[in-house]
Amino acid sequence: MRKLKGKERLIRLSLLVVAFSAISVLGLITLFIFSEGLPIMFRHGLKNFLFNLDWYPTEGSFGLLPMIIGSLLVTIGAMLVGVPLGLAGAIYLTQFTSKKVRVVVKPLIELLAGIPSVVYGFIGVVILVPLIRTYLGGPGLSVLAAAVILGIMILPTILSISIDSLMALPPSYREGSIALGATQWQTVRLVLLPAARSGVVASIILGMGRAVGETMAVIMIAGNATSLPRSILDPVRTLTSNIALEMGYASGEHRQALFATGVILFIIIMVLNTIANLTSRKMSS
C-alpha cells in the first residue's frame, strides 16, 4: 500500500478524531440513559415497570404498561392511516398520471415534511379534536386523533421514498407486463410493487420511526391519560410524551423513572428497527 505523506496522515487523523467524537456522543447518550434508568428498574423490579398498570411516580408505582401499549397503539394507528394513503399516492403518481402532475404534486407533498410538529399538533387540537368530540363522542383528545395526525405526518416520508423506488425500476418491467396483456392494475400489483418492495418497506420503516418518536404533536392531541384506552376514542399516553410531560418537575426517583421510560423506549426502537431491517433484507434477497 502507498505510504501516506505527513500532511495526508494529519488530515486523516483529524478526520478520525471528528468522526469518533460523533460516535462517542451517541455512546455517551446511551450510557447516560442506561446508567440513570437501570438502577431504579432493578431497585423496584422489572415487573413494577413492565407489567404494572399504575403510574404514580411520586408514590413509588412506576407502571409503564399503559404507555408501552399506548405507543404501540398510536404507531399502529398511524401506519393504518399513513401507509395506504402513501402507497396509493405513490402508485397513482408514478403509474396513473402524467409527468407534469408528478413534478408539481411530489414537491408539494414533500413540503409537508417541513412543517414543524407543533403546527400539526395545533391543527389537531383546533380542528380534528372538536370534530371527533362532536361526531364520534368522547373527549376528542384520543388515540384516533393522534393516529390520524401522525398518519399525515409520516405521509411525505412514505410517499416520496416509495415514488423514488418505483421510479427506479427499469421501464421494461412495466412495458413487458403490459405487452403480455396484463391490465395496469395487475402490472402494479404483481410486477412493480414486488420489484420495488425493498424501497417501499424502507419507507414504511422510516415512517414508523417518526411515528414512534414524535412527541410534541402527540402531547397536544392524545390526552395523555395514564389508563389503558378501552376504545380509540379514549385518551392515551405514549412513552415519549410521558418523558416530555413530566421532566419539567421531576426530581429524585421520579426523574430516574423517566430515564427508565427512556430505556424502554430505546429497547423498543432497537427491536422495531432490527425486525424491520431483517424483514427488508429477507425480502430483498
Partner: protein, 311 residues
C-alpha cells in the same frame, strides 16, 4: 437507518486505517503533538469557562425550588439585578421539595416552596411572599355553578362520572388534570383529594394554559388552574358556595389557596436579605399582583393552612 449506514461506513474506515497506523509508528510524532495540543486547548477552554462561573460567585445568589413560584422569582430577579448592577440572582426550578432541601443543605441561599412546610422542615425561616388560589373551572355553558369539596374530590377520583350526578345532563364528565409533579397538582391533591388518587382516566395537560384551553373547548370538561389565570373562556365554580375571588381568598373563606414561600436557613444575610426585602417591598409585591397573585401580607397569617378535609 441513516445512522446505521453512517456508523458502518465509519467502522470500515477505522479498520482500513489501523494497519497503516502500525506501519508508520516512527514518524507519528507530528499528529500526536497536534492531537495533544487540541486536548490541551479544549481543557483550557473548559477551565476558563469554569473559572468564569466561579469568579462571579461573590455577588451571586441562588434561588431554587417550586416551579409555580419560579416565573415570579424570575421577574423579581430581573428587576432586582437591574437595581443592583453587578449582582447576579440565579433562579432554578426543581419543585418545592427540592427547594426546601436546597435551603436546608445550603445548596441554594433561598429555597422556594408553593406548599406549607412540614413540621420537620420548620427549622427554616419562611417568608410568605404571595398567595395563590386554585380554581375549579368548567365550560362557560355549563350550568353547574356550585360543587362541594366532596363532590369535587369524587369527580376527580372518577367516582362521580356523569354530570347528572351533580345536577345537569346525563353526559360523561371529562376530568382534566396536571401532570404528576406539578406544583398546582400537588396543591390540588393536598387540599382537595387528600389521600384519594386522581383517576387514571383523567386527561393530563402540562400547563395551566393548556388545561384552560381544553376546558374552554369541551362543554363537558372540568379542570383546575391558578386563580389568576381565569379568563372569559372558562367559568370558575363556587366551592361549598364560596366564589373563588380575591376578596374571599384574603378573608380565607375560599379554601383552595396555597402560600408561595421563600425559605432561608436561619436569618437571611447579605444578598439574600436584600433580595427578600425587595420581594416584600411595594415594588416587588406590585409585580405579582398584576398577574393575579395575592400579596403575602394581605392574608391573615395566624392560621396559614386551610382546615384539613373533614376537620
Amino acid at each position: 437507518m441513516i445512522l446505521k449506514i453512517d456508523t458502518s461506513m465509519l467502522v470500515g474506515y477505522i479498520f482500513s486505517l489501523k494497519p497503516m497506523e502500525k506501519k508508520s509508528v516512527r514518524n507519528s510524532s507530528l499528529p500526536q503533538a497536534v492531537v495533544g495540543g487540541l486536548v490541551i486547548l479544549i481543557c483550557l477552554i473548559f477551565t476558563s469557562l469554569l473559572s468564569c462561573a466561579r469568579g462571579s460567585r461573590e455577588g451571586s445568589l441562588t434561588v431554587a425550588g417550586s416551579t409555580s413560584v419560579q416565573p415570579f422569582a424570575d421577574q423579581w430577579a430581573e428587576v432586582f439585578m437591574h437595581h443592583n448592577p453587578g449582582k447576579v440572582v440565579n433562579v432554578q426550578g426543581g419543585g418545592s421539595s427540592a427547594g426546601i432541601q436546597a435551603a436546608l443543605t445550603g445548596a441554594a441561599e433561598i429555597g422556594m416552596s408553593s406548599r406549607e412546610l412540614k413540621p420537620e422542615e420548620k427549622v427554616l425561616t419562611e417568608f410568605v411572599v404571595a398567595w395563590d388560589g386554585v380554581a375549579i373551572i368548567v365550560h362557560p355553558t355549563n350550568p353547574v355553578g356550585n360543587l362541594t369539596l366532596e363532590a369535587t374530590r369524587e369527580i376527580f377520583a372518577g367516582v362521580i362520572t356523569s354530570w347528572s350526578q351533580v345536577g345537569w345532563v346525563d353526559r360523561p364528565i371529562y376530568v382534566v388534570t396536571r401532570e404528576e409533579g406539578s406544583g398546582t397538582r400537588g396543591a390540588f391533591q393536598e387540599m382537595v383529594m387528600g389521600r384519594t388518587r386522581i383517576a387514571k382516566k383523567a386527561i393530563v395537560e402540562d400547563s395551566n394554559g393548556t388545561v384552560r384551553e381544553v376546558v374552554a373547548n369541551d362543554p363537558y370538561a372540568i379542570g383546575y388552574i391558578s386563580l389568576g389565570l381565569i379568563n372569559e373562556r372558562v367559568r370558575a365554580v363556587r366551592l361549598d358556595g364560596v366564589e373563588p375571588r380575591i376578596e374571599n381568598v384574603i378573608s380565607r373563606k375560599y379554601k383552595l389557596i396555597r402560600p408561595f414561600l421563600l425559605l432561608t436557613a436561619g436569618a437571611p444575610q447579605g444578598l439574600a436579605a436584600d433580595f427578600i426585602q425587595f420581594v416584600l417591598s411595594e415594588e416587588g409585591q406590585a409585580l405579582i399582583t398584576k398577574q393575579g397573585l395575592i400579596p403575602g401580607r394581605l392574608v391573615n397569617q395566624e392560621k396559614k393552612m386551610p382546615p384539613e378535609e373533614g376537620a
